[in-house]
Symmetry: C2
Subunit: 176 residues, 2 copies
């Protein structure tokens, strides 16, 4: 399973590609950041993010895209930018027919460190270890994107089983 | 000046095209709503909004796109959807090199009714009158999109003067 993780943001959009299956060692295929200038117009920033993500999708052809689920309890301005960058990532993937999975920050932290309230450094440390890297990926957005991809690979089997169970339940409901 | 107004939303994205200049009677060229099913996946909804807006841009070739500026003091879920739909509208326009202007709901209300706290019905009534329509456009999202376009046509000269003044000031600053 090849997953592109996206940590959405207008200024720094973290991207990371991980390949593997749950229960086996994982491989990092690529990691980076799509940046846009803070003083550019919103439209130009969104176009730059679209072009950057399209290049990643072209190069790595992931089977899934995992995007951080945006919450609005945080800083108002940041959340708007995050929601807009996340919309572009979701749009780029959906246009190609690639399924998009959303994971919350605490799901990602819990998946890679065992604690939903882990610190940034701990997440970076575990990502480095799980992907057998020589140093934690910088900036943190890049490490977070890899953590999202890892989280998706590990959670996907459970999510698929739930979806299958729900589908089975629905089909049984229809025949009775 | 031909302006496409967009009242962004995931379920109903209002669109309206108005042509004219400040101080002269305005003409409505088109009005409608891009709808997406509430139970569809986010990615599919964003793709449907993109395709819908592209069709409007293709048909009317506006010189400006006016989008409602999103605030996050409202309902959390709605705001996320609005921010995401607004990102798609901004992206579609910017990709074509069409300038995108953002106006707040109170700027729009003040422009068409004289009061920033006017009711929906009052906005619909003034839009009907200003565009010499036989009845208020339905749903309200469609009327709001027309109000945005009207607001942009009326505010644009002032905004342009401000931008010219700022540019002049900046160029003077450089030469001294």
């Amino acid at each position: 399973m090849r997953v592109l993780g996206v940590d959405p943001g207008l200024t720094r959009c973290g991207v990371g590609v991980v390949e593997g299956v749950a229960g086996r060692p994982l491989t990092m295929l690529g990691v980076g950041v799509v940046r846009t200038p803070v003083d550019a117009e919103l439209g130009h920033r969104l176009v730059a993010i679209e072009q950057g993500l399209e290049a990643w999708l072209d190069e790595y052809r992931p089977e899934y895209v995992a995007v951080e689920r945006v919450f609005s309890q945080h800083n108002v301005r940041t959340v708007m930018g995050t929601a807009q960058a996340s919309a572009v990532a979701t749009l780029c993937a959906a246009r190609r027919g690639i399924p998009v999975a959303l994971h919350t920050p605490s799901e990602v932290k819990a998946a890679v460190t065992g604690s939903g309230r882990a610190e940034k450094a701990q997440v970076g440390g575990m990502v480095t270890r799980l992907l057998r890297l020589s140093a934690p990926p910088r900036p943190a957005d890049a490490a977070d994107a890899l953590a999202l991809a890892i989280c998706h690979i590990w959670r996907a089997p459970a999510q698929n089983r739930l979806q299958q169970a729900a589908a089975l339940h629905a089909s049984k409901g229809r025949t009775t």
